[in-house]
């Protein structure tokens, strides 16, 4: 063996993103200098992306267990029991850097990657979501990036035939140089047929299936962990191109083979392709692997072992088969016109041995490498507490109606129809609740039950107070599921932050994770999967902390679910939850007053839960006809959305006292009541108000009747009536106009 013709120079080591200390550790583990191939493998295995070295310590603090959890974090995706012998399998993943470089392909391959994480586990993907963050609309790149990302997500998801049913789109100058593209997939599998990556059976064949390996994105995984600088435009690393058609074939072929008993373990090739996937399988099974790299299907001639091991070509999987099942498996993949190659076998050596033409070209220890994977306790500094902004300190708007119209058309709050109409959100014919509501509802095929799915995060809250913002993201997701009548079950998270080597950024991460952990605990809402994206930073300026929460809930009977549209004239509109008129860090403060300051609204998790449980019960009992949770823009914005969805107006009365709290406190100023973003609140409609108010009293929940539906105008206290036409124009026109600009 000649593993060591050329010891890597310090420059090469640095180029691989490894610190001097990390390189010393490599020398220790290997007992010699690594060759370039081995160095490459270490570098991807220990990259932030694959090793979570900065965040691991904190991720461990998240609650990950619950009666429904079948597989928590650590697998390709989280798995929860949804009854009837079925499991929901889901995860969210970022493709931020690649999407900034090439928005169409970056976003498309992001969707492809997360789909593979889900069907690898044996689930048929049934829904995609996407949480997107772009820079200032006025920034010269924003329009192009948004157009490309949306086209890429649609181009991939539409072709594979998985409906894209929800997501979010925000804009902030803080993302000018670092957009966020977080994609989530939800799948459904028979509960007793979940596949994992844990290899077993010495001698079992290792099989490669899918597309051929090209020189795509070599070192993409390390790139994703390195800060951008002005030169990135120059470097132009090879971009990975997605092939959704091949992905569709791969889904069908894998699910077909999974219906047999041929597969021992299976793993998609994601970041760091063949390296990460085979390593992980062997490491989980406590085994070794031997690969014959000559057998790897290659797209181009003369590919080196380094390229084969580190390529990030898309639409590829690795499997360990039961002995003797190669012929069966090959037939399935050939039926679907996919490459199939036995590329190696499991060994009991605990080592990864790579051969080319029968010669050993790399030989690394598996467990020690995985165990020695660095874990940092990076220094962190807590985000200073922001000063409160009291409602009284803000003058009321000159024109309430104008303020509402302004919010309705604000980039963050306007209708995202332009986006979701480019996504096939109805394929599979089970989309019961389409985009535009609080949570998407996807019927479990062949049943009357449905999964409710949402993604949420309010970065301006997280920036003001990471802990409150983290908790709020979870609470809002939980509330969105509740608002359609679903029982919230579990979450996945995508933690997007700047450079963790800076204590203030690390402080944001720590704070957000604490908030998420606290809220998930209080709401019995375990985290079953997730992803961390760090170094979202350009020229020393990090993105706003953006811990996106993707959440899944269950509706037992779709005829008992609801949506936000006003249903009939003359119905009472009831505000559930207490309104103090919190305007700190609100969208009103930012868009109408023009100030970005203050503390975010406090999240009282006990109240959140109590209010939500009440509302869910009311929906299930058929006692309310529509429901919408309150978030950005408060009561006023929610009313406008409900009116628009139902094509029905409403007349709202001025609040009497602090809404239904019954403690005699004075009502907040009208503008604070209308636009305040206090948490734990919902608007519901009902033919009769009293039974709903009575139920609220029984449950100890603040609730008050605030108006009645009807007509074709929305009248807010202290404002002129606003026609539905005006509301629609304000809400629907900003995004298409901007994109046509």
């Amino acid at each position: 063996m000649k593993p060591n013709e050329r010891a890597p120079t310090p420059e090469i080591v640095t180029e691989h993103g490894l610190s001097a200390a990390e390189y010393d550790l490599i020398l220790d583990l290997m007992g010699r200098a690594p060759n370039l191939l081995e160095l490459g493998i270490f570098s991807v295995m220990w990259s932030e992306h694959c090793s979570y070295k900065s965040s691991k310590k904190w991720l461990k603090t998240l609650p990950t267990e619950g009666p429904r959890v079948i597989h928590g974090p650590g697998e390709n995706a989280g798995v929860i029991d949804i009854g009837d012998g079925l499991a929901a399998v889901f995860k969210m993943e970022s493709h931020n850097h690649p999407s900034f470089i090439e928005p169409y392909q970056g976003a498309a391959t992001g969707v492809g990657g997360i789909l593979r994480d889900v069907f690898t586990m044996g689930a048929r993907p049934v829904a995609n979501l996407n949480a997107l963050r772009f820079g200032d609309p006025a920034h010269p790149k924003t329009r192009h990036l948004l157009a490309g990302v949306v086209a890429g997500i649609g181009g991939y998801g539409n072709c594979v035939g998985v409906p894209t049913v929800g997501g979010e789109v925000n804009f902030d100058p803080g993302y000018d140089g670092n957009i966020l593209v977080n994609a989530m997939t939800v799948g459904i599998a028979p509960k007793d047929r979940i596949f994992t990556s844990e290899a077993s059976g010495v001698g079992n064949p290792i099989v490669y299936v899918g597309s051929k390996t090209g020189r795509d994105g070599i070192h993409g995984a390390t790139m994703a962990s390195a800060e951008f600088d002005e030169e990135t435009d120059e470097k132009r690393p090879t971009v990975q191109v997605g092939d959704p058609f091949t992905e569709k074939l791969l889904i069908e072929a894998c699910l077909e083979l999974m219906a047999t008993d041929a597969i021992v373990a299976i793993q998609d090739m994601g970041a760091a392709g063949l390296t990460c996937s085979t390593f992980e399988m062997a490491s989980k099974g406590g085994l070794g692997v031997e690969l014959d790299l000559d057998r790897v299907p290659c797209r181009e001639e003369g590919m080196t072992p380094y390229e084969m091991m580190l390529s990030e070509s898309q639409e590829r999987m690795v499997m360990v088969l039961q002995p003797g099942k190669e012929t069966l498996a090959r037939a399935v993949f050939e039926k679907w016109d996919l490459d199939f190659a036995v590329i190696g076998r499991l060994t009991d050596t605990g080592r990864m041995v790579l051969k080319l033409n029968g010669e050993v070209v790399g030989d690394l220890p598996i467990d020690p490498l995985a165990e020695a994977s660095p874990e940092y306790d990076r220094p962190w500094a807590a985000t200073p507490k922001p000063a409160d902004v009291t409602p009284e300190s803000l003058a009321p708007p000159e024109d309430t109606a104008q303020a509402l119209l302004r919010l309705l058309g604000a980039p963050d709050l306007c209708s995202k129809r332009w986006v979701w109409e480019q996504y096939d959100h109805m394929v599979m014919a089970d989309t019961v609740g389409r985009p535009g509501g609080d949570a998407a509802l996807v019927r479990i095929h062949g049943s009357e039950r449905a999964l409710a799915i949402t993604t949420d995060c309010t970065p301006r809250y997280c920036q003001a107070s990471p802990r409150a913002g983290g908790a709020q993201a979870v609470a809002e997701a939980w509330r969105n599921l509740t608002a359609v009548g679903a029982q919230p079950l579990a979450v996945t998270d995508n933690l997007n932050f700047g450079n963790p080597e800076r204590p203030e950024i690390m402080g944001q991460l720590v704070g957000c994770v604490e908030g998420i952990a606290e809220a998930c605990r209080a709401l019995d809402f375990p985290v079953v999967s997730g992803n961390v994206s760090l170094y979202n930073e350009t020229n020393g300026k990090g993105i706003p902390p953006t811990p996106v929460i993707g959440a899944v809930g269950l509706v037992d009977d779709i005829s008992r679910a609801t949506d936000l549209a006003f249903k009939a004239a003359g119905e009472a509109i009831i505000l559930v939850g207490e309104t103090r008129g919190h305007l700190g860090a609100s969208i009103y403060l930012r868009e109408v007053v023009g100030r970005r300051e203050g503390a975010p609204p406090p999240v009282d998790l006990a109240i959140e839960r109590r209010n939500g449980d009440l509302v869910r019960g009311l929906i299930r009992d058929g006692r309310v006809s529509a429901c919408h949770d309150l978030s950005d823009g408060g009561v006023a914005l929610a009313l406008a959305e409900m009116a628009l969805a139902g094509r029905l107006g409403a007349a709202i009365e001025a609040p009497q006292a602090k809404n239904g709290a019954g403690n005699g406190a004075a009502a907040p100023p009208i503008h604070a009541w209308l636009f305040g973003e206090d948490q734990g609140r919902y608007l519901v409609t009902a033919r009769e108000a009293e039974p709903v108010l009575e139920a609220a009293r029984q449950a100890g929940v603040a609730a008050a009747r605030i108006g009645v539906t009807g007509g074709d105008v929305l009248t807010l206290p202290g404002g002129r009536p606003i026609s539905l036409g005006e509301i629609e124009a304000a809400h629907e026109s900003w995004l298409p106009a901007y994109m046509n600009g």
Partner: protein, 234 residues
């Protein structure tokens, strides 16, 4: 009645149409389920109706439907269609039908150049066909479209001939049935959403009736199309 759904690599509405048609078969005839036929099978059993489903056959690479049109199963479909076996092509299936020449015309990318997925209104141009017998002529339906290349083109003479012979099955229309540019989601010539062959035994349509054939999915205007077929063909 027996029906077959041809499954191409990349088809993705095959199950959806199987469910919708199967539902009508069971409701009206108490039994039945369309068979799935893999595109490589040229000798599938004799059926009363062949369905070409929506999706992205062969990724829609090169041109939508171009590669699918040459699959072994399609050669057989063309042969049977020429003998009068009814064929329904939805969305990608419509594109495949034009590529085989069973239906006239061709498709270009939507005028917006964007994929469009939303409910549209279409006007039933004639109830005189086995596909539309359960609708009234002039009836307005709400049915979703989901495509990137739905911009139907044919030369003017061809379009005139289609009109004269009553081969236009559906047109995109507005709330009051008006077939203007505003109601047209993709730029299709003369707002055409669906066409028949001359004998009206082959129908291609861009909208997806199978996606709104179930009241739980916020509408069922697509259902009569399947009911009508089951009624006419069994």
């Amino acid at each position: 009645m027996k029906a077959a759904v041809i499954v191409f690599p990349g088809s993705n509405c095959d199950r959806d149409v199987q469910v919708a048609l199967g539902q009508s078969m069971r409701a009206l005839r108490g039994k039945g389920e369309p068979a799935m036929v893999w595109h490589k099978e040229a000798d599938f059993e004799k059926v009363d109706l062949i369905v070409l489903p929506g999706g992205f056959a062969y990724g829609d690479y090169l041109r939508c439907g171009a590669m699918a049109a040459h699959s072994p199963a399609m050669r057989e479909v063309v042969r049977r269609a020429k003998k009068g076996v009814p064929v329904l092509g939805i969305c990608n299936g419509f594109q495949v039908l034009t590529e085989t020449g069973l239906l006239p015309g061709a498709f270009l990318p939507n005028a917006s150049l964007k994929f469009v997925c939303r409910d549209v209104h279409i006007r039933v141009e004639t109830s005189q066909s086995l596909f539309t017998s359960r609708y009234e002529t002039g009836q307005r339906l709400r049915i979703p479209v989901a495509h990137h290349d739905g911009n139907y083109v044919a030369d003017e003479d061809e379009l005139d001939r289609l009109e004269e012979r009553g081969q236009i099955a559906f047109r995109y229309c507005g709330k009051n049935g008006e077939t203007d540019a505003e109601a047209n989601p993709n730029g299709a010539a003369r707002n055409i959403a669906g066409v028949f062959n001359e004998e009206k035994t082959v129908l291609g349509m861009m909208p997806h009736p199978e996606r709104l054939a179930d009241p739980a999915l916020s509408g069922s205007d697509g259902r009569p199309l399947f009911d009508g077929l089951v009624e006419a063909l069994s």
